[in-house]
Symmetry: none
Subunit: 146 residues, 2 copies
């Protein structure tokens, strides 16, 4: 894993169907040198797979929100995790620096089900209040399944 590998990964992240020659002309290698590196990255498990990014409207999860969670007193990350994992609409959550205790990303089919899911979070023990922002337009969404 050197710098050239990282640049190859960046190129493939942008276009996983790019030709080896095209990648090579960006990173300064021949097509076969790029192929060898990509094959190695796949064999080593660095590249887990080649996939596509599909319009979420096709899947039907169109409504999305970003929620700051403020708790009373101290709440352990373990407890927050337990509470938030129980809500299927919660797609991402993490404790953060700043005035909020946690940041939560939610997705659902419509506003009504989003509100219901938000209620489940709010009613959890020690949650003082939340501050939500509904996503209007998704601008960037890069795959990240880690």
């Amino acid at each position: 894993m050197d710098n050239i590998d990282r640049r190859i990964l960046d190129e493939l992240r942008q276009n996983a169907r790019a030709g080896y020659g095209d990648i090579g002309s960006v990173v300064g290698l021949s097509a076969s040198a790029v192929k060898r590196r990509v094959d190695r990255l796949v064999a080593d498990g660095v590249i887990r797979g080649f996939t596509i990014h599909v319009d979420p409207a096709v899947d039907g999860t169109t409504t999305e929100a970003w929620v700051e969670v403020f708790c009373r007193g101290t709440v352990s990350p373990d407890e927050l995790q337990r509470i938030l994992s129980a809500v299927p609409e919660v797609v991402y959550a993490g404790t953060v620096t700043g005035s909020a205790d946690a940041i939560v990303q939610m997705r659902s089919r419509d506003i009504a089900s989003l509100e219901a899911a938000l209620e489940k979070v709010r009613l959890a023990a020690n949650v003082d209040h939340t501050r939500s922002a509904i996503v209007l337009t998704r601008l960037v969404q890069r795959a990240h399944e880690d």
Copy 2:
């Protein structure tokens, strides 16, 4: 968007580098018929892009932040998208309701590169200021590659 399109999407989700002939033999079409459908799915925006899944441990994106972006006057979503897409550390972005104009999720190797990426966002035209929260503990991360 019929059932065959959905099966083609499933195939590409599993392997975005699969040949048209290979996909065709699974869904029961000729290679050129599959190519025409894939081209149409891309043109229609159903397929947003071809990308790779990278082992997160390997590329070491351990530092993560949520950033609220506040702009001066009105900024078009298109312009925001153009600016934010150009910063590779931006993993997610969307315009939102509330006082902030957009919410941005960033990931990078360390605090220094996160700060550098944040600078790139801040220097963009019409960005008034930003408010960041560094993620301390990731509590929930569900796969969502749409």
